[in-house]
Amino acid sequence: MAELVEDRATEVMTVNIGPHHPATHGVLRLVVDLEGEVVRDLKPVIGYVHTGIEKSCEEKSYWKVIPFVERMDYVSYFFQMEAFCGAVERLIELEIPPRAKYLRTIFLELNRIHSHLVWLGTTALDLGAISMLWYCFRERDRILDLFEMAAGQRMHTRYFQVGGVIEDIPLGFEQKLREFVRDMPVRVGQYQALLDRNEVFLSRTKNTGVVSRERLLELGVTGPLLRAAGEPWDLRKAFDYLAYPEFDFKVPVGTVGDNYDRYRVRVAEMVESTRIVEQALDGLPEGPFIADDRKYVLPPRSELSTSMESLIHHFKLVTEGYRVGPGEIYYAIESPRGELGCFVLADGSAKPARVHFRDPSFVNLQAFRDMSVGSYIADMICSLGMLDPILGGVDR
């Protein structure tokens, strides 16, 4: 029998991590080649929660697509709605009223804070800071309460409609939101006090998962990951959409591009988002909250019992839906994870011929190999948390 030759120092072992593992933040499978504890190669395997949403959208009239696309990236549902509604509005050239723009901006920014809170809580949990999860989810709950107050749902609210928003904000909403806006910067300060001088957190995040800015751009990475590497690229500043040009806010950037910078950028973004919400609340214009085009927007409930025309419009919109003339559009917005683009192809019927989402998690995941190869397996887990992929958005 031949003697088994084994060099324990250089033996490469292939390990499967996931798809069901708490540290993968969803149903993500990683095939990792390990040499000791060092990652030598890595391949993400995705598709475990592919539900064919894009295909299903082709069978739905335009207004029924909205709740569908919300369920792709289930943490930033307002952004999915805005990407789709904004794309359709641009196809039919429907201008939305200023109040709707402001309301949308408020809810998008609240959603950004919510998304970053989920990220901070779960990522800190991966790094052993268990208490962070409870603190972050405490504030997240207040945001969900606000969503519930305005839309009736805590998640997947279907609040944005083509033409504006479904309902105006209720009485008492503004006061509750002002309390939140007052408290949130204090809470962010508390999170930083817990983490910024925490020896374990610092040594786990500093100088780990570094990828150069040039490489990130080649890989198409956008959002906080790119900004942490020092590139001040933010679609809210670069392109003119919703009410963003009217607000004063900063785009936080990092210097090194390591996991610590990624953490710092996102935490700073929470404060900036709070500022945007506050300014939007101060400047919230009066007026209609949804456009007044009866060919696309449901007539008010009160008119249905008095106006025959409204009843017909209502009936047509609810049964067939509105038709969108032939055309195609790619509309991109800045989601918490980067450039969220929505491609809609209209063929003149009441259903879209194709809906495609350029999901930032899907594209950003390509950088994970660059972040992790050559690092320890523990740093790989940290990098994955800082990458913040939402697998519902990756697989769609």
Binding site: I46, G47, H50, G52, E54, K55, S56, E58, E59, R90, L91, L217, E218, L219, G220, V221, W233, A238, F239, G327, E328, I329, Y330, A332, E339, G341, F343, L345, A353, R354, H356, R358, F362, V363, L365, Q366, D395, R396
Partner: protein, 179 residues
């Protein structure tokens, strides 16, 4: 977004270097669109990326649209972005259904186009997705396998002629029927 004369200048310069590359130009919903012959896709994308004064160095999105029953049927969309000037341009490579060279699992002819991973590494996942759902073969892609669907899946589900709800799903009440 380049304006109309700008787009015609781009067309003229590409035509001078690669005759027959540009099929059509146009504007659609806030976007300059350059429709091209798929045989020249790398030349056009490379020119838009490298030529002085162009510098569309960021590929925002690569996706496919199925224009059935129009001919050519497919188009691969490249949403290019110049971050310095904040300008977007869309390049559409129009693809006929089924070239003779490539064949799929059931002997089916698949449309083919050159992979742009060498120019834009970000296209790797997105080209795999396009292959997965539309059966478009990207020549020169390092690992052209299915990405979201199971590797043994047969068919190209996001094509317009692929039916929705065609697969039986087993529940307990119809277990005997579909078993």
């Amino acid at each position: 977004m380049p304006d109309a004369p700008g787009l015609e200048l781009i067309r003229g310069e590409i035509e001078a270097a690669h005759p027959g590359a540009v099929v059509d130009t146009g504007f659609a919903q806030e976007r300059a669109v350059l429709s091209i012959d798929p045989a020249h896709v790398l030349a056009v994308l490379g020119w838009l990326r490298e030529a002085p004064g162009q510098g569309y160095r960021f590929l925002s999105s690569l996706h496919v649209a199925d224009y059935l029953p129009a001919e050519p049927r497919f188009a691969v969309h490249y949403e290019l972005l110049n971050r310095g000037r904040v300008e977007r341009i869309r390049v559409k490579a129009l693809l006929e259904d089924g070239s003779p060279a490539a064949t799929g699992p059931a002997g089916q002819r698949l449309p083919e186009i050159d992979s742009c991973v060498s120019l834009f590494p970000t296209a790797e996942f997105q080209e795999r997705e396009a292959f997965d759902f539309f059966g478009i073969v990207f020549k020169g892609h390092p690992d052209l396998t299915r990405i979201l669907l199971p590797e043994d899946y047969v068919g190209w589900p996001q094509r317009r002629d692929f039916p929705v709800g065609g697969e039986p799903v087993t529940f307990t009440y119809n277990e005997r029927q579909y078993g």
